[in-house]
Symmetry: C4
Subunit: 235 residues, 4 copies
């Protein structure tokens, strides 16, 4: 049942580890089949080195399990809300990668300080508001998704494929599970550079709108010129 999707999601989870973003079982990746309305997601608390495609759980968009023996990631409800809210995305990643988490813990958006940032994120990477006690004590995992959707607001989720949950860590997304992981890996590098850039120059406001646009649209959209194909980002 959706074997190819489960294999892609397994692969993307392993790429998250290879990208250096994971300690133990922290972090999870999912992917969606939009036609069938089914989400494939990492099982909860299973070590990556023993994970198989058959351990990847399938659920519908209401979180009802339709395949697999394992419990899905405890962050499932956040993933599902992102898929429901952002219709263009095909994969979601949550990690506790250290530098993105540092910005989340500091409850600061990551300003667009350079072209590496601009190549992937069309503006500052937003941080959510702090959840209220009622939201935490209520449907916490769902409410984590609610504040992410709020933080993205009227931005296009495909041109801002990440948000930081205050006091928690980053969620990233993309065209599919692999693309979401790619964005998460770049976010970590961007976050690390931003920590030290701000230390070197606390008053920095970041790059101009024109430089942000120039780099973002060089890699994305109809006029993209980067890579070997003309209409999409790096192959």
């Amino acid at each position: 049942m959706l074997k190819a999707l489960r294999e892609q999601v397994l692969e993307a989870n392993l790429d998250l580890v290879k990208g250096g973003l994971v300690l133990y079982t922290f972090g999870n990746v999912s992917g969606i089949d939009r036609d069938q309305g089914l989400v494939a997601i990492k099982p909860s608390g299973v070590p990556y080195d023993r994970m198989k495609a058959d351990d990847i759980v399938l659920t519908d968009l209401d979180g009802k399990k339709v395949y697999g023996d394992m419990r899905p990631s405890s962050d499932l409800a956040t993933h599902l809300l992102l898929y429901k809210s952002f219709s263009g995305i095909g994969g979601v990643v949550h990690s506790h990668s250290e530098y993105a988490t540092i910005w989340a813990q500091a409850a600061r958006a990551i300003p667009a300080l350079g072209t590496t940032h601009a190549d992937y994120f069309h503006g500052p990477v937003p941080v959510t508001r702090v959840l209220t006690d009622a939201e935490i004590e209520g449907d916490y995992v769902l409410n984590t998704g609610v504040v992410i959707v709020e933080a993205i607001g009227d931005k296009d989720p495909m041109s801002m494929p990440a948000a930081l949950v205050a006091g928690h860590g980053p969620f990233c997304w993309g065209r599919d599970a692999a693309d979401a992981v790619h964005n998460a890996v770049v976010l970590e590098s961007v976050a690390r550079m931003a920590v030290h850039t701000v230390a070197l120059r606390p008053e920095t406001r970041g790059i101009s709108q024109s430089l942000l646009d120039q780099h973002y649209f060089r890699k994305h959209g109809a006029k993209a010129t980067y890579g070997q194909a003309s209409s999409d980002k790096a192959l």
Copy 2:
């Protein structure tokens, strides 16, 4: 004699190295058999790459050696006091892992700045008071244990499985030797993120009590929902 325990302790010592927490022979792990009242501990100053299960020393809770040819770790007396004071623990780790040591050197508790912290440590990781000259010149290794026990105070050692010895470094513990190492590895990541979070936002007070509780109890205790089993943390 307690071969399985000695093998677990050997394995846990090697995992400490794999976790990147060890330079040369710095650091030591022990485990206890509560029924027999015997502790298995790393020998002093032996390189990890040559260590065998037979080099792991067994002592009773008074530090009398009952198995092995080597001298036990020079930190033995601290380990023993922790086992005597914290009846629920089964393993103890001491390391000089760099970022936990940085907080210890700064004599600052690590505030609970995010959910990674909250998943493992139910509040700020405490730092001991500075030892007096008399305590240092007296039974120094034992007194290191005394100030750790003081720093934990009336906290539950299983929900606060670490303390920083001021000017020295971290001690961690857990259900068994492997769990203690797991906590030490997570502490290092939490400590590293906390150093930079505080730099980015010096006035931060950390996450709310409700978020701390939400994450801690998601992984620990009767209502835990993380992982594949229902009553304990990540398998």
Copy 3:
């Protein structure tokens, strides 16, 4: 066609990865054959682990492709302007290596704070001015070269083989592609040390002119004494 050059350029691109300066496909290296006026450069957006010498594109100094099926790096126009402006150089590297990029994002030149710097860069590594909106919206890639050439000014490009593009990242060059990569790797270490040196001692002005000269000329020029040959830097 210029197979040896294409192989050197491939090798230099792979060395950039080995040096830890590259995430995904970020970064590109080129080399020039001065006699034929042809430049060999990495193709755009091709993963390093699949790149072959045949994927390396050859263009003339006006950017007209004379060999290869792939699109050249999207930074080609910057490379070409550097070759035309700095007649002594034989290789060019652009990367987003993190610490050099941090200085670029902070729009600060890297001061000469120690002898590691002085061994390679005969003075502060300059940072360009910020590009105007007109320059960004015009021939952006070419204009990136223009501000680099401006930043080097009347310095000898062989004794200052790097510049930081404000808000972007480093460009480095050298006798050939391999030498340019060597300089880029050293720049990254120098930049990392400089970030923390400035944190430890914000008022530092760096080393004296005499120490800068002593180290620079120990490795470069007719009186060089480093290495096994007498007239050039480390073999």
Copy 4:
């Protein structure tokens, strides 16, 4: 000729690389045979991965080459002065390891902020004064040794086996070449922790004299208790 010494020195040079202290050919290790008054030292600018025991150069204490085809390290004169001034040492290391170099570039001694430091260095690791222009333009390499000897002053070089040359980097020494490298590796970790400790707590004065003594003498001297032998540091 002194084959065992040359092999030890080769091994120690390779250990410097394994310890992560070396970029390209930066850094050099030597060892001495006190009976014959001969020093074995790394050749200048030779890549580590091709270095053989036969490339290790032997010189007398005046720097006259007595064995080998290669030029000795360009830092030879510094090494020789240290051997002549510190009669108890058997090995010398110079590196540009990043964090020790950061303190050297900041021209600050590394304060004794914790027991990791105290286990190896019996007090703050001193930094030299800045060399005068005359000293730099004169016999620079020798004068580098002169200011190190000045910085050690009346301290015992065996209990303070390192000094930072202002604006340059660390020199370390020990009983033999391997021990000198061991000290250099520990110094780098100590220096890295000190950078961040000072950031977290700028006003820190470091550990007490009694804690410094307790740890230092636990590993060194007649009353040492660390390791498996009673009279020396970690085996």
